[in-house]
Amino acid sequence: MNFDPLVIPFLAGTFFLLIVISVKYFNWIHKLDANQVAAIRKNIFSIHTIKAINEIFHESLLHRKIYRKNRLLGYMHMSLAFGWFLMIVVGKIESLFYYGSFYDRPWLGIFFKYFARTPHHYFMIIPFSFIMDLLLLVTLSGVVLAIFKRIRSRSLGIKKTTNHILLDRIALTSLWWIFPLRLLAESTTAQLTGNGSFLTGTVGMLMAHLPVEHIELPLWWAYSICIGVFFIAMPFSRYMHIPTEIVLILLRNWGAREGEQHSGYTDIQLNTCSRCGICIDACPLDFAAQINTVQPVYFIRDTRYNHLTQEVADNCLLCGRCVEACPVGLELTAIRQQVRQKAETPGKHYFEYNKARENTKKVDIVYFAGCMSHLTPSIIISMKEIFKQAGISYWFMDEEKGLCCGRPLRQQGYLQQSKELVLKNTQLIHSSGAKMLVTSCPICYHSFKEEYSLDIPVMHHSEYIDMLMNEKKLDLAPSDLEMVYHDPCELGRNCGMYDSPRHVLNKIGHLTPVESEKEKSLCCGGSISNMAIEYDVQSKIRNNALEVLTASQPDVLVTACPLCKKTFGQNGKVKVMDIAEIVAGNIKNRFPQII
């Protein structure tokens, strides 16, 4: 007996799934942008492919990243994904042994026990049965955990679970039912034919008093239907992440990155989101301000299904905590900036009015304070003092208030305007003849590094001060100040600069680590990326961050961003200083002037 109509739902679902996925993949790959295609061409036959396969194994099957973050959650995902995967693989091998042909009908492995009713046919029956039962048990334990997580998420260390749409619920329910139904179906067959092992055999015995010969077929049918339903719902539900993540890992390893415009790669990223909801807990808008409808999980979902609202698109601090937390490593902030993009007016110039003067004298560096720094004059005064003490000649590019770096416009999707500013500033910087650009604003710093193609290095002042100290141009006097350091989002997570400021501060006083720092640093709430929230919400985020930062009762909260300084300073709870201020106040002795 090699066929029964009960496999039809399964087969229909499988074919449907294969066709839909093929169409989708073709579309996405077709829509990749030029940079992405170039990257793939370059790296497809290289070590990167091996790395990608390794990553696919670790992430798609074992879910290593989730496991590291939360063991129970990791186990849940691993048992479901890897357990099911092995059940399919081992089932296939089992049927190979049983039927002696690899190319036999594909459903024979899925419905093995139903079709392989004569156990004496092959000698490996006992170990295979045992392994399959074990795998089923492992998978079932994952299902139990998943159900438990739905009911009591906090017990799995998750504060909030995702609010799912109907299609997801259908897919989820059918997925959960697959394994209990398989257990019951196999158990009835085991009771009838004796092909069960420790699990199916035992459950079969427990069902002995039931009319198993009558319920066997309906149970197998139900099992097949559940698989069919799941497969049909999958490409339209969050479970599309299962096949898509594999593609994403490959492309990412080959060097593809999110571009300025929506592309096939964006679609792949959108479909890779499993809506696990880990980003909800990472988002300051949620835990500090109780806004829980705008997080990447919903944003990505809405974008994928084309019902994104402006409110969801705009309501994001772009602090990057979600990117850091995302188990599948989606470029969430990049996609967010994409959807914010505004219509362009070709040929239009917006900032012709600026008549910034070029530098005329010979200088070591260009100093760009940044717009915000003009409202924290102490930073500018301190930088001037530091330059003076270290004997650095500089051109203060925006002393008379120059152009903005362009990042605020870019963040809001005004790309054309942003590029105009980049072009104008680049001309000014290059015309200065200086060998380095130093800025006091992490927003500008990020912009200079990523959006500009400057032919001189760019440094944030914390890094620059560190360099001056290493070069012995600046010596600082130690003090007994108790300090904590706040990593600005743009400087830390977005530019990866964590060590320089800490190195500098450790020379001055005692730096106490805080609970959330470096990659996990909290946003001050003042972020200019989020125009959808008002001052009251910003204050909540700020106060929440201050609670964490001032837990050790420091003398001073040090940061390296004028916006963070201003935002924290408004609270008045703790003294807030920029790293430049604290350095300028602790310069030990005056070095001889070099020029």
């Binding site: 605020p408 809001q412 125009m531 001052y535």
Partner: protein, 116 residues
């Protein structure tokens, strides 16, 4: 229509009986803090664009509020969204959002060819 070499002047008056102030309602539904503005001008004082051009957040805001949309789009385009105005505002007005929302509302209007 005849052309005698001159045109009938359009009144400079803010005619609140005729101006369409519904756009402002649209604005405050998106950015409620706009209503907190007390027109102190701190925003315009710190603004780089204001120092170089006729752009003024306060002025654009009051014109929009009064339904005076002509040429407002061009004014709004001068803003670099740098956010200094946001920082100096004592009333907690989300100035950048006000600017960006005004821009979007006006371009939406232009696209629909509604006379402004």
């Amino acid at each position: 229509m005849k052309d005698w070499g001159y045109k009938i002047s359009i009144p400079r008056i803010i005619d609140l009986d005729r101006s369409d102030t519904s756009l402002y309602k649209q604005l405050v539904s998106k950015v409620p803090s706009a209503m907190k503005c007390i027109m102190c001008g701190a925003c315009s004082a710190t603004c780089t664009a204001s120092n170089h051009t006729t752009f003024s957040f306060r002025h654009c805001h009051i014109l929009f509020k009064r339904g005076q949309y002509s040429r407002l789009s061009d004014e709004l385009d001068k803003c670099m969204l740098c956010g200094k105005c946001n920082l100096v505002c004592t009333q907690g007005v989300n100035t950048r959002a006000v600017i960006s929302t005004m821009r979007l509302i006006l371009s939406d209007m232009n696209n629909r060819n509604i006379a402004l």
